[in-house]
């Protein structure tokens, strides 16, 4: 069948099962936008290309399916680089299609030309400049395969305009669809080495103070059930990193919650005092380890990751297993049972009571505000948490509000927490929540955002209003770049430099209304619940609530940057 590159691209996306594209057209990608009119694929017209990328990420986080974004060349390609880098850091499956100037114009500084594959090389799992229209079906097939298998990640396809323009002979091709993908240099290993699995099982069954260190890889491997089974088999406590919140239900007695720079005392200290860390799909990020030399210094390490480059990158494991977390955990469970689990194991009652002692002594705390004072952000989050469905999806931006949400929310289901962990992209929440809601229209989706973050990507609420995507945004508005303010207060002698934003410039309620959303402002504790209830009832447009919160509130606990996790500061009274 004779076809052209543009039609072949859309057809290939349909065959890959794509149901939605987040995008914004422009000169070089124009020919591809024509066949979209006749395609069953839904296109969501964003207001800024960064929004398209984060929406695709939010969609992928919520559904497990690859998110797809399509934008034009030049400035559109550069605008989507932040989402690419974000997806690369957090291993989010995503395929981004960029238009490129015509083949003859490449390298001539043509209008809206940038070297997109050059610029994106270090922030994509793979990228490809199409040089021949006949390659389009194969390259699309390969892109989805690479994005979704092994350690997932973003793949970019850059397509020159002449190859997709039906009026140009360069776009002609005979349609085909490859049966399989043939990539000689790409063979991710999925099952674990049986000898190493046995070694790991021996370490686990002998450990007196084991802790499972669950990371985002558990979600990518769809391994939450396997994780639960492993933890319950030997009663091993589990910490869930920022990327892994929800992999183990927070209401499960074995779940210790979040470790790291703003982790709770028990999660941080259990890792620190453990004699065996079982790292599953986690990467010993500096925000988790604190000072690496002082991190869990008595612990042996089992490290399971599908990416062999993670094993030994930060901490050399005693047993390092390359493989898919779900398969390896299942293999580990079998191996443990073969050597007598759960009957055979040391008495761990002392370890358990130590842990529960920490939990009692060091819960997360804050002091409720006095009447007439601004809201405490933790209080708003508790109200939001307790008055939304258990399977509500929550997205956040980056900063204090992100940490409080990660701390105070009860994540009892996987794929309910969406945030920017590795790159720390402010402005992530609004578009990510929109993408998540598009992927999971059956779920309630809230974004918890900061006022600084909100101002970076709020324009996508216009997209959400136009497309009738009823996301709900809670702005914890403390009128500051709060996390920076916290560091200036604690580490720069309260010299506040360029962090003040003003509580009412812009007027968030009016801004929300101008964008077609329901806008509300809440200033006192008794108004928090009614506002949340009112927001929950809106199902035909986005809602934005401007919660006026106390800027003096800091995120605790905190392990100061560069310090050992043993130097954790539990609360303001503990500051030294």
């Amino acid at each position: 069948m004779k076809t052209n590159g543009g039609a072949a691209l859309i057809k290939a996306l349909e065959l890959e099962g794509v149901d939605v594209i987040f995008g914004l057209p422009g000169g070089a990608i124009l020919p591809v936008y024509d066949p979209i009119i006749d395609s069953p694929i839904r296109h969501i017209l964003v207001r800024h290309e960064q929004g398209a990328g984060h929406m695709a990420e939010g969609y992928a986080h919520a559904t497990g399916r690859p998110g797809v974004a399509m934008v034009t060349s030049g400035p559109a390609a550069t605008n989507i680089i932040t989402p690419l880098a974000d997806a690369y850091m957090d291993s989010v499956p995503m395929v981004v299609i960029t238009g490129q100037v015509g083949t003859a114009g490449i390298g001539t500084d043509a209008f809206q030309e940038v070297d997109t594959v050059g610029i994106t090389r270090s922030v994509t799992k793979h990228n490809e400049l199409v040089t021949n229209a006949a390659d389009i079906p194969r390259i699309v097939r390969e892109a989805f395969h690479i994005a979704t298998t092994g350690r997932p990640g973003p793949v970019l396809i850059d397509i020159p305009k002449d190859l997709v323009d039906p009026t140009n002979p360069n776009s002609a091709l005979d349609w085909y669809w490859p049966d399989s993908v043939d990539l000689a240099g790409y063979n991710p290993r999925l099952d674990g080495d049986p000898a190493l699995i046995k070694d790991a099982a021996q370490l686990i069954i002998a450990a007196e103070r084991p802790v499972i260190y669950s990371g985002g890889g558990i979600l990518k491997a769809r391994a939450a059930e396997s994780l639960l089974a492993l933890a319950e088999l030997l009663d091993i406590p589990v910490v869930t990193t920022l990327m892994a919140r929800g992999t183990m239900p927070d209401d499960h007695p074995l779940c210790l919650g979040m470790p790291g720079m703003h982790g709770n005392y028990t999660a941080v200290t259990a890792m620190q005092e453990s004699d065996l860390l079982i790292a599953l799909g986690s990467r010993f990020d500096d925000r988790v380890t604190g000072k690496v030399d002082a991190f869990a210094s008595h612990a042996k390490i089992i490290h399971v990751d599908i990416d062999p480059a993670e094993l030994g990158k930060v901490r050399r494991p005693d047993v390092g297993i390359t493989g898919d977390c779900r398969l390896v955990i299942d293999e580990l469970i079998t191996a443990l049972k073969q050597i007598g689990a759960p009957e055979v194991q040391p008495d761990r009652s002392a370890w358990k009571s130590t842990i529960s002692g920490w939990q009692e002594k060091y819960p997360l705390t804050y002091v409720q505000s006095e009447p007439g004072d601004l809201l405490k952000p933790q209080f708003v989050l508790e109200q939001l948490r307790d008055n939304t469905p258990d399977d509500c999806i929550v997205a956040s931006g980056v900063g204090q509000h992100q940490m409080w949400t990660a701390q105070y929310w009860k994540f009892n289901h996987p794929y309910t927490w969406i945030n920017s962990g590795g790159l720390g992209t402010m402005g992530f929440a609004v578009p990510a929540a929109i993408g998540a809601k598009v992927g999971r229209p059956d779920r309630m989706v809230w974004a918890v955002d900061g006022d600084g973050c909100f101002q970076m990507t709020a324009q996508e609420l216009v997209t959400a209003a136009a497309e009738r995507i009823p996301v709900k945004i809670a702005i914890l508005n403390n009128a500051y770049l709060g996390m920076v303010r916290q560091w200036q207060e604690m580490f720069y002698e309260e010299r506040y430099s360029e962090v003040y934003l003003s509580p009412d410039l812009p007027d968030y309620k009016m801004w929300a209304e101008a964008m077609g959303c329901v806008g509300m402002r809440v200033e006192s504790p008794e108004d928090v619940l009614p506002a949340i209830q009112r927001a929950n009832e809106v199902d035909d447009r986005p809602v934005v609530i401007d919660f006026r919160t106390d800027a003096r509130e800091k995120v605790f606990p905190m392990v100061p940057s560069g310090k050992s996790n043993s130097d954790i500061v539990v609360g303001p009274e503990d500051e030294r």
Partner: protein
């Protein structure tokens, strides 16, 4: 070169495609590691190229870079070649000034290095020499100030087949 650093030779088999060299070299550039020498050419299979990279890196970061190289879709195989396990050669073209007295010495050295005279005019002569990188180093230092200019290919290497 600090004591902890030393030459490492990586032999990287890649797909013979545009941009692959940039992907490979980018992983070194990202960390600020200098590539000491680089040789690239297609192999017996024209769809593949072999890149021989010599870098001065400590062993630990090199192991990490090697793993990251292996993640590149277009990279098929990576071998780190310990000098003792590899045969190595490098080609050099060198222009030197000669006098009537020194010319015979140069010609005999050229022969010793299985070289050839490529060009000659007045008191200048250009020869090509092949050998181990160390031998080429020895040649240039022996020639001393007589060297006008030279270009080396960077080393190429294959694993030894003798046990």
């Amino acid at each position: 070169m600090s004591p902890a650093m030393r030459h490492h030779i990586l032999s990287v088999l890649v797909e013979n495609k545009p941009g692959v060299l940039a992907r490979v070299s980018g992983l070194f550039a990202r960390r600020g590691f200098n590539i000491f020498s680089l040789a690239v050419a297609p192999t017996d299979d024209a769809t593949r190229s072999r890149i021989t990279i010599v870098v001065d890196v400590e062993s630990a970061p090199l192991e990490q870079i090697t793993k990251q190289l292996d993640k590149l879709i277009n990279v098929l195989q990576i071998d780190e070649l310990a000098p003792i396990d590899a045969v190595e050669r490098e080609l050099m073209i060198v222009t030197v000034t000669v006098s009537a007295e020194s010319k015979p010495e140069l010609l005999s050295l050229t022969e010793e290095y299985s070289g050839a005279v490529l060009d000659e005019s007045g008191d200048r002569i250009t020869v090509s020499l092949g050998g181990t990188p160390e031998a080429l180093d020895a040649f240039t230092s022996q020639m001393g100030t007589a060297v006008v200019a030279y270009q080396r290919t960077g080393r190429i290497a294959l694993p030894r087949i003798t046990p």
